[in-house]
């Protein structure tokens, strides 16, 4: 792990050291992938958006002022580009039983627990997919990224009160979806 801070790396990039950008990508690629991956239905779409985010960052890093932290800025770009992608592909997706879970080449029957886990995963994925955009992004940042509301507030530029209401409705809707098994 490189000991230099994000801001130090950004400054180096601004001074012409292109490798500083590589270090920022390596530092955040995994976290960023999972944020995007949970907002989008499949890996290929997430992969496209993650690349778009970093290309955009590369093009804009020279003008990054540091008003917010780098990762706040990065998350904001990632969330916005993910939602743009969702809107662009307006056709609603339906989930088949094997969508979103690992394909098994073996024909041996799966252990019951594993089947239950896969069904659970399918349900959760479908439930998150059905959330309104605002609730979806708040849910992903809060539940999966475990970010404090104050941090999410900076990323999404929404009040903490509004975020809490969105998170409550998102969690409740997921519960309803799972309860009804659909």
């Amino acid at each position: 792990m490189d000991p230099r801070s994000d801001l130090e790396l950004i400054q180096e990039f601004k001074n012409g050291n292109n490798k500083a950008f590589n270090l920022l990508v390596l530092r955040y690629q995994e976290k960023l992938y999972w944020v995007v991956r949970r907002l989008l239905p499949d890996h290929d779409e997430a992969d496209d958006v993650v690349q778009d985010v970093f290309v955009k960052v590369y093009r804009s890093l020279g003008s990054f002022k540091g008003d917010s932290s780098f990762y706040t800025w990065l998350y904001r770009i990632a969330v916005n580009l993910s939602l743009n992608e969702i809107r662009r592909k307006k056709t609603r997706r339906t989930f088949s039983l094997d969508d979103g879970v690992t394909q098994h080449e073996s024909t041996d029957p799966l252990p019951v627990e594993k089947l239950e886990q896969e069904e659970q995963t399918r349900l959760i994925k479908a439930a998150i997919e059905k959330l309104p955009d605002k609730q979806k992004k708040v849910f992903v940042l809060r539940y999966y990224e475990e970010l404090p509301y104050e941090e999410i507030s900076k990323i999404l530029k929404t009040s903490v009160g509004g975020l809490k209401a969105n998170y409550f409705h998102a969690v409740k809707k997921i519960g309803e979806f799972v309860k009804n098994g659909m």
Binding site: V25, Q29, P132, K164, K172
Partner: protein, 218 residues
């Protein structure tokens, strides 16, 4: 305590982060409120299911190959001229002048290309002015407002914009989605609403709010 204020405590209870004092407040409320009891049960179901689900891992070596693929895209996309290619001393000289020139050009372009531009009007009024009049079903307005609520004719595409600062409306209003809706033949209703705490309105409450606006704001 009102149910609205209890919501975040329900979440905290299921997360296990509830303070003893809030826990007592919540227990007192739950003893008399079936609706919040049901909500608590649903939140419990949700968290349990979330804990039981697992992530689908990306392909092997995905992260090892990501950086080279990003670099390849950066190298292959057409390069734009950037002051970053200039030495630092040149950037320092050029930066303030360039910024002023760009700002001046933008202001001039905006004034020239926006015949309806009127700096005395609010951000909300500017937005309404930007949408072709024949595309707007109706506009409901009050002098003071805390948010803007828009709805197209397609119920599933309705939108709820939450904003407490009217001056930020023009930045947050989802012009792209509105334009897309209009392109698909939907008419648009814009409600400029007074004294309604939009931040606490859930999507499922949109219709009752619209009914309320219809009755009270005209």
């Amino acid at each position: 305590m009102e149910c609205d204020a209890i919501r975040s405590l329900l979440i905290e209870k299921q997360e296990g982060t509830l303070s003893p004092e809030d826990g007592r407040t919540l227990d007192r409320h739950l003893a008399t409120c079936d609706r919040c009891k049901e909500d608590l049960a649903l939140i419990g179901i949700s968290f349990e299911a979330l804990r039981g689900a697992r992530d689908q891992e990306p392909p092997t070596h995905y992260f090892a190959n990501l950086l080279p693929r990003i670099r390849e895209r950066i190298e292959n996309e057409p390069k734009e001229f950037s002051v970053l290619f200039l030495p630092a001393w040149a950037q320092r000289i050029l930066a303030p002048g360039s910024a002023l020139a760009v700002l001046g050009s933008l202001v001039a372009l905006y004034v020239l290309l926006t015949p309806s531009f009127d700096p005395s009007r609010s951000g909300l009024e500017q937005i309404v002015a930007d949408v072709p009049r024949e595309d707007i079903d109706r506009v409901t307005e009050e002098v003071t407002y805390t948010g803007v609520l828009t709805r197209t004719m397609e119920p599933s595409q309705r939108m709820l914009e939450t904003m407490s600062n009217p001056s930020a409306v023009s930045q947050q209003f989802d012009r792209e989605l509105v334009a897309d809706q209009l392109e698909h033949g939907h008419s648009l209703t814009i409600f400029l609403a007074g004294d309604i705490p939009f931040e606490d309105i859930a999507e499922e409450d949109v219709d009752p709010v619209i009914m309320k606006l219809d009755k009270t704001s005209l």
